[in-house]
């Protein structure tokens, strides 16, 4: 009985912790990108104010849209992104580690994007329809390099002959960098560069934000969302940032200094900050948006090319 209660408390901690962390890092991200463009930027707690304000505002259901799809998928996107965190080993074993593995996580990452697309299509405005189509194209794009990157550590663990190679715990315990030849190290370096672009793509940050392109289709996917539904998507995107960063920490950057729990958590936060800074803040301010037709070519052409080369190096 006791461990059920413990698990329940752990679950509560993870839920509210991930939302808090996500919004916190979103605030840092906005401040840093503002500083990089020589403007002051919003206060640190701006995302929390946004969420509170959204919760108070009216949540409008557009006239032609289907009410239950419109609202259900706002909730589903947040729950799916939080559920991912249950399967990722953050500081040791993951909470549900023994009942799910890497393929499950790749599929769980589709849920938030999918519910965004369904919400956009169901809100019956041509801007959100366009945004939804572009988001699907974006999802089709980044899935290919994502699959290659996630499967290289599995291949390395498989080559070393460990058992149940697909579970994230085994990958997390055996540091991926130690398993390969020097050529493999170069390959993994190449792959970690691709990692940052994939994270930027999955969070649809600037070079890949064809779906919420403010200048072209006025808010795109979330054009018709307001009030608490928009708050759900806002938080889902923040949690997804944390989940993605911690997934790639578990796969590619698992080093950690042995200290008590506090220090290890601090190092973990620093690593997340490092990844989010490069993948979303740096790339966002440096590059500009892709044309739609060039996007697939970039994903399936250059990004997956580098990923495959990296993978071949590790063979």
């Amino acid at each position: 009985m006791f461990d059920v209660v413990l698990k329940f408390i752990m679950m509560l901690i993870v839920i509210f912790g991930s939302v808090f962390l996500g919004l916190f890092f979103k605030g840092i991200d906005r401040i840093l990108s503002a500083k990089m463009q020589r403007r002051i930027g919003p206060p640190l707690w701006q995302p929390f104010y946004d969420v509170r304000k959204l919760m108070i505002k009216e949540s409008v259901i557009p006239k032609g849209s289907i009410k239950w799809i419109f609202e259900l998928f706002a909730l589903v996107s947040l729950t799916a992104s939080i559920l991912i965190l249950f399967y990722i080993p953050i500081l040791g074993k993951s909470i549900l580690g023994n009942s799910g593995d890497l393929v499950l996580i790749i599929y769980l990452f589709i849920f938030p994007g999918l519910s965004l697309v369904l919400g956009a299509f169901s809100s019956n405005s041509s801007y959100s329809n366009l945004g939804g189509q572009r988001l699907i194209i974006n999802m089709l794009g980044y899935e290919f390099p994502l699959a290659i990157i996630c499967l290289t550590p599995v291949w390395l663990v498989y080559k070393k002959g460990f058992s149940n190679i697909f579970s994230l715990n085994t990958i997390y315990e055996h540091n991926v960098w130690g398993l390969t030849s020097p050529l493999g190290i170069i390959g993994l370096l190449l792959e970690s560069i691709v990692v940052f672009f994939v994270i930027a793509g999955e969070l649809s940050k600037t070079p890949f934000d064809i779906d919420t392109a403010d200048s072209e289709i006025a808010g795109g996917v979330l054009a018709e969302y307001s009030g608490r539904n928009l708050a759900m998507f806002y938080m889902a995107e923040a949690v997804k940032m944390i989940a993605l960063a911690s997934l790639f920490i578990a796969l590619f950057f698992p080093w950690n200094i042995q200290g008590n729990f506090g220090i290890m958590f601090l190092v973990y936060l620093l690593k997340i900050f490092f990844i989010i800074f490069i993948s979303s803040t740096l790339i966002k301010t440096v590059t500009s948006r892709f044309k739609i037709s060039r996007l697939t070519r970039f994903y399936w052409g250059y990004l997956s090319l580098f990923a495959i080369i990296g993978f071949l190096f590790t063979l």
Binding site: L54, T79, S99, Y127, Q133, I136, A223, T296
Partner: protein, 100 residues
């Protein structure tokens, strides 16, 4: 410990999280002014017809594979001569591959 995909645990946790968030979701504002101008979809320019054509929805995706689609459309015309030709071609390829 062998990883076996247990869907029940995933579903239970999914529902638990869903209820906790739904509990938080209820604290948000529910009312909105029905059938007012507020619920009309946002259009900046001339308001087009309510439904836009979703047929060629993956325009961006096609652009890069235009040549491939042209080729595929060309070889697949719907008459039995082409069907039988493709069938014989396929079985010859199969035989050659098998006899390597």
């Amino acid at each position: 410990m062998q990883i076996i995909w247990q869907p029940k645990i995933a579903l239970i946790f999914f529902l638990l999280i869903f209820f906790i968030i739904y509990f938080f979701y209820l604290s948000g504002e529910k009312k909105y002014k029905k059938d007012t101008f507020q619920t009309m979809a946002y259009f900046s320019g001339k308001t087009p017809s309510q439904n836009i054509k979703l047929q060629n929805i993956y325009w961006g995706f096609f652009e890069d594979f235009k040549k491939l689609y042209m080729f595929l459309a060309k070889i697949q015309k719907e008459n039995s001569n082409d069907y039988i030709f493709l069938f014989i071609l396929g079985s010859i390829i199969f035989l050659l591959a098998l006899s390597l």
